[in-house]
Amino acid sequence: MDAIAIENAFQEKIDKDLNIEPKDQMPEKYRLHLIRQISQHAHSEVIGMQPEGNWITRAPSLRSKQILLAKIQDEGGHGLYLYSAAETLGISREEMIEQLHSGKAKYSNIFNYPSLNWADIGAIGWLVDGAAIVNQVSLQRTSYGPYARAMVRICKEESFHQRQGYEIMANMMKGTNEQKAMAQDAMNRWWWPSLMMFGPHDSDSPNSGNAFKWKIKRQSNDVLRQRFIDKTVQQAEVIGLSIPDKDLKWNEEKQCYDHGEINWEEFNQVINGNGPCNKQRMAHHIKYHNEGAWVREAAAAYQKHINELN
């Protein structure tokens, strides 16, 4: 089949809402788009372990330490499924990590913000994972089979993470004045970056055209962001947290919240490397990846030795 015939057959499948599987023929651009998106998603899970890991040794109770460790372990596990899903498209994990280190591959901007007090652990679970779920629920119907199936598994765990994050915030809002102040401080710092997680406004979103046509993406950035805002504002009110947006108000006519303008200047700065933790996150990943090289080499040498014996 020539390229055009392949593309037509492929699009026909997509239009019938059939999943694309690893052995199916697919346009090169579709494959590359997915590698970019899935590896970015995998890297986000892995880099996200850093701001949360920052509080493990200071978690204030045995239960909270257990929950936090289990959660971070889940995130690492998500990284593993996603790396495997991307590997079905003909790229190795090692190559993806190289692309991360060279800056070719990105990870979610949100993890370039620091986790500064214990309530940040609550805010990350509630807001960051909450925003991620909205996006990932939509991705459960994405056209590439391995990615869609990874999302189904991941969504189950993320909704648990979101609940535990909200529980931390709710408990702190029931606590001492100092705890309430920590919770509000975390809210103030994480709210806007969480809204930015959905990406630019639809009118400014450079990768959306083909993503919709190929049904990689099912719903637009603005639609998903609105869904997140509407559910989260109510949750904040229940526990007495205020949303740091003076323009936020209920729009009776549209039956949703209007919100203030997002600081896209900050968004672009952070995407381009100028966020509070960009350099730190990458340096950490590179340092420990390099420090582990001798372990990976030893494991490979040992395996080779065993294979030779058998």
């Binding site: 372990m49 493990i56 200071r58 460790l69 593993l80 582990g292 030893a298 490979a300 040992y302 395996q303």
Partner: protein
């Protein structure tokens, strides 16, 4: 010392070993040599936190003064922690963590096998759960000893160095304090001394199968049972207890 006081002390020792080892393992989060090992080490840390929680909760009940597991874990002064010094050794490199886990898990394998038959039903129950986890921890560290010991020249050297550096902290595991003698008499606790030969045999087997030599140095450092720690302990506690100490009124 009454039987109740001895049991309380005994449970604190067991609980503190789990608590401090979990703390060190949790330091690996996002720092593992491969993602799979990041997950494996934090998984072991999780097992230890669960065990610490069970043991310290029970210690609080036995003491009968209303102290919760968290109060015991987070509010004691340093000299009232009774873990073996080996637990508080810094995480070091991957070889150090693996060697440390092998030396500890081998001991725990023998210890918790015995404690499954404790006359104290609660302790026997905790041991029954722990032993399943310990078997996995032991296998994990044994398999990595093989890989590191027989992998490359460098990995063999690093593992050998780790074993050498840790050796002086292994003997403490087999000491018997007054509370342990009493627990042994009551068929609640275990005879640590009786485990030492079997421990040495098991460790020697794994290490010689990994091309690692058993250190010949005989000096042993101890102090954990008396609450006399290494300089590491204060730093562990200053992190671990930070929020509990800084905001004593807060409930988390």
């Amino acid at each position: 010392m009454t039987k109740q006081e001895a049991l309380y002390q005994y449970l604190l020792q067991l609980g503190d070993n789990a608590l401090i080892q979990s703390h060190r393992l949790s330091e690996w989060c996002s720092k593992g040599p491969i993602l799979e090992e990041d997950l494996a080490l934090t998984n072991i840390a999780l097992d230890y936190i669960g065990r610490a929680q069970n043991l310290l909760h029970y210690a609080g009940e036995v003491e009968g003064k209303g102290q919760s597991a968290d109060q015991l874990a987070y509010r004691r002064p340093e000299h009232q922690y009774y873990n073996n010094l080996i637990a508080e050794m810094p995480k070091g490199d991957f070889a150090f963590t693996i060697a440390k886990q092998l030396l500890i898990s081998t001991y725990e394998l023998l210890l918790y096998t015995e404690l499954c038959h404790s006359k104290d039903e609660t302790l026997a129950g905790i041991a029954g759960k722990a032993i399943k986890e310990v078997r996995y921890h032991w296998t994990h560290s044994r398999d990595w000893c093989y890989r590191l010991g027989k992998g490359t020249v460098l990995s063999n050297e690093l593992l050998q160095q780790a074993v050498n550096d840790l050796w002086m902290y292994t003997g403490e595991q087999f000491e018997m304090g007054a509370e342990e003698e009493l627990m042994l008499k009551e068929v609640i606790g275990c005879d640590n001394k009786a485990l030492q030969n079997k421990w040495l045999e098991m460790v020697e087997t794994v290490l010689s199968d990994s091309n690692i030599k058993i250190p010949t140095a005989t000096y042993n450092q101890s102090g954990g049972r008396k609450g006399i720690h290494t300089e590491n302990m204060g730093h562990i506690l200053s992190e671990m207890q930070y929020l509990q100490r800084a905001y004593p009124e807060a409930i988390w």
